[in-house]
Subunit: 165 residues, 2 copies
DNA sequence: TTTTTGGTTCTGTGATTAGAGAACCAAAAA
DNA sequence: TTTTTGGTTCTCTAATCACAGAACCAAAAA
């Protein structure tokens, strides 16, 4: 019996311009700590006309190996950058960029930045009292950062209200 | 003639607790993309009782090689994380954490985040009109991010005023 | 039962990185 | 002039990374 397809090419239709944009956004994602393959996959799922892509469509379109695709998808799932849906009578998962969830992730990012302020407070507490100027500058910085991170959730709420949800 | 000192140990006095804090803060710095040696040096300069340290004090205290020390210091100088001062009749440079300058760097960080919004706008422009819901979510996200990044400089100003500078 | 599908996991590797050590160098001191 | 100081730069290596390829596997289909 002849094998149906030795090398399936499920790659989706995508323009040259779109592929360039995938790279461009991918690089930005890389700068924020995402690894190359994951960055491209995340980027593809925002740019492609089809918003729901299967494992194999992603793999074929991005020319990644199965392992690279699998790892990229799983890190993106773990970091909540993407989700997947299923369809009745279809074993495949359809991966999609969960744009709505980004808002939470965006807020979380500020929360992470807040963590450093806590450590700066530890630092300030243990500092010698012999360097009052330095300590004052540090204290001021801590105060500024605390202020900003306090206000940011308020900004989120304000925006929500303006956009009457 | 007997050589004065084959292996100079200019390491400064530092407590065990302080060294642990250097590691702790260092790891946070690493998470924000700084490389290990640079992260520890930056961290040391915030925690050490002496706020002005020489090349050799940094090297000896952190047990780094000269090359690692040199590279770490130079990257920190380039990224404006530290500055140095000199003293009359002394060829050494005294490196110090420029806490005042952090404010500018802190604001800059938000500016960088703003950059991704521009690319998202490119993405939105080129998206197919066949996915109105997805596009609407993306548009909303862009609108939220733009709003936040617009408000942040205002927050900085507000804080400045409250602290009557 | 065997085959196919939709992946996951293991192994191997080329590329990159972080840092050590030594050679090097210019300005200052002796 | 020679030596010392305060670094910089070059070379080498160990460790890590990102990915390919292949083996593997469970559930579904045939």
């Amino acid at each position: 019996m002849i094998s149906k397809m030795l090398c399936s090419d499920d790659s989706i239709a995508i323009t040259r311009d779109q592929l360039m944009l995938v790279e461009k956004l991918g690089v930005l994602y890389e700068h924020s700590g995402m690894q190359p393959a994951a960055a491209r996959v995340a980027s593809l799922l925002v740019i492609a006309d089809q918003t729901e892509l299967t494992f194999d469509q992603i793999r074929a379109t991005m020319r990644l190996s199965k392992s690279a695709t699998s790892n990229a998808i799983n890190t993106l799932l773990n970091t909540k950058r993407i989700i997947y849906i299923t369809k009745p009578g279809d074993r495949k998962r359809y991966f999609t960029s969960d744009v709505r969830e980004w808002k939470a992730g965006f807020l979380d990012k500020f929360g992470e930045m807040m963590h450093i302020v806590e450590v700066y407070n530890e630092v300030l507490k243990q500092r010698t009292k012999e360097t009052p100027e330095f300590n004052k500058d540090l204290e001021e910085m801590i105060s500024l950062m605390s202020f900003i991170f306090d206000e940011i959730p308020k900004l989120f709420k304000k925006w929500d209200n303006q956009n009457q949800i």
